[in-house]
């Protein structure tokens, strides 16, 4: 039977200057899954994401992407990455929306199709810096979709985005997951929102604290272990 785990993290540990950031983590992301990787600030979730993307090398353990060791993995077009924000100061960067989407090498038609998928086609000629936080995130998703990836990894995508735009944003992610059969992995510290949007949750606090369906995890006492005793969740369906 074909192994449907497209990301396999096996016994991975990473230390910054001797301080453990993540320790002995085992985690799999299966094809078609919408996984939320959650944890408090400083819990190591961004470190884990960078290891998954090949930006950091684990000091212990190994990572497989699409069945291949990450060190020999070459087919990066299968993975789309949506950062929290651009690495540069966009306020001084006169770049248009279509230039952002096309910077990975996409042609005109692919740029258009990607912008249509995130409902940003009418903004293609605008300067990126003139967009709201939510619109900028949509443009980043369009850029990540351009090479037609199978896995989309998002790093705290809704930080600084207003609540109304957040709701639309998660609706877009659910559509991508269901309609385009995209596998999604989303890193966030905002458990209350993410738990109601994703299909699976992995809770990180240096170690993997829990992994499973949101409703099972929210009913258990894992969240108190992760965030402290004061946290309360309200479960609702979609």
């Amino acid at each position: 039977m074909k192994d449907d785990a497209i990301v396999k993290i096996s016994d991975v540990s990473f230390r910054y200057n001797g301080e453990p950031a993540i320790s002995n983590i085992n985690l799999e992301i299966k094809r078609g899954e919408f996984l939320g990787i959650i944890g408090p600030n400083g819990s190591g979730k961004t470190t884990l994401l960078k290891i998954m993307l090949g930006l950091l090398k684990p000091q212990k353990g190994y990572v497989q992407l699409f069945g291949q060791d990450i060190n020999s993995f070459k087919d990066w077009s299968k993975i789309g990455y949506v950062p929290q924000k651009a690495g540069s100061d966009v306020t001084n960067f006169p770049i248009s929306v279509e230039e952002v989407v096309g910077m990975g090498g996409a042609d005109h038609e692919t740029i258009t199709n990607s912008l249509v998928k995130v409902e940003m086609a009418e903004h293609r000629k605008r300067l990126f810096r003139e967009l709201s936080g939510g619109q900028q995130q949509r443009v980043f998703i369009a850029r990540a979709l351009a090479p037609k990836p199978e896995l989309l990894i998002l790093d705290e995508p809704t930080v600084g985005v207003d609540i109304n735009s957040q709701t639309k944003f998660y609706q877009l992610l659910r559509d991508l997951n269901r309609n385009l059969k995209l596998t999604l992995a989303l890193v966030s510290h905002d458990i209350d929102v993410v738990a109601h949007e994703v299909g699976e949750i992995a809770c990180i606090n240096c170690k993997l604290v829990c992994h499973g369906k949101p409703k099972d995890i929210l009913k258990s006492n894992f969240m108190e272990k992760l965030y402290g005793k004061e946290l309360r969740f309200v479960l609702h369906g979609h």
């Binding site: 993307l53 990455y81 540069s88 006169p94 000629k125 300067l127």
Partner: protein, 266 residues
């Protein structure tokens, strides 16, 4: 034919000037958005050491300068990319380092003679035929390298981490950019002058960014402004007997002022 073009030195100055007016803002656009434009000034101080070595060894100063600035640019990028020292601090070390080396070497070539002075502030009468061919050759190479790597340069400038994830060798692309900067600085010193080249890599770019509705459009505007400043500047330098480098830089500032005024009033 206008009188100005009856002199072969003026034709050489114009050809070299036009080439520089294209490549200096072209490279400058990528430096400004990265907030790394001070590298041009840093490399120009190192270029001065190259000139002094060239004069000391009685060889082609331009060739020595290109080699020295390219080596320095790679060293700067290596130090910057390992993240242990910030990019700004690396430049702050290399800039006085280059100047210090220049001062020591200049004292060995018996002080600041007229020849060395012309490298500092540029001189339209001193573009030799060999300088012109080297400028055109390396200038065209720079131009085509930017065209070839354009999208990768843009991606790495906008978002280094995402560029890495998409499979771009960001270290290689960044090294290309600093090497092209080193070449541009070296080629510009004859017409613009070592102390003024940083201005031509920044002022037309900042002016273009006031008007550009995309990165490519900003590049086109900056090229237009730089070409205008160089052409008008060289005419003024010839007919009014003004230093070319200083005139070109002042004209660039004048264009910036006009554009800023135009933008404010609309």
């Amino acid at each position: 034919m206008p009188e100005i073009f009856q002199y072969s030195f003026m034709i050489r100055a114009f050809l070299a000037g036009l080439m520089i007016a294209v490549i200096a803002p072209l490279i400058g656009n990528f430096l400004v958005v990265r907030r790394f434009s001070l590298i041009a000034d840093t490399l120009s101080h190192i270029a001065l050491s190259g000139v002094a070595i060239g004069l000391l060894l009685k060889t082609q100063p331009l060739v020595v300068t290109v080699i020295l600035t390219v080596i320095a640019s790679v060293a700067i990028e290596k130090l910057r990319s390992n993240k242990k020292i910030s990019g700004e601090a690396v430049l702050a070390m290399f800039l006085p380092g280059g100047l210090a080396l220049s001062i020591v070497l200049i004292s060995l070539v018996n002080g600041l003679n007229a020849n060395l002075f012309s490298y500092l502030f540029g001189s339209i009468t001193t573009v030799a035929e060999s300088d012109l061919w080297l400028t055109l050759g390396l200038g065209i190479l720079t131009l085509f390298t930017v065209i070839f790597f354009y999208k990768k340069l843009l991606f790495a400038s906008f978002d280094e981490e995402s560029a890495k994830v998409s499979g771009i060798s960001v270290g290689f692309i960044n090294t290309i950019l600093v090497v092209l900067t080193a070449i541009t600085v070296s080629l510009s010193m004859r017409v613009i002058g070592i102390l003024l080249i940083g201005a031509l890599m920044v002022i037309p770019v900042v002016t273009g960014m006031q008007l550009g509705r995309s990165f490519l459009q900003s590049i086109y505007f900056s090229l237009g402004f730089a070409l205008t400043a160089v052409i008008v500047g060289l005419f003024m330098a010839y007919y009014l007997n003004l230093p070319a480098g200083g005139t070109i830089v002042l004209l660039s500032l004048g264009i910036f002022g006009l554009v800023a005024f135009f933008k404010r009033s609309h």
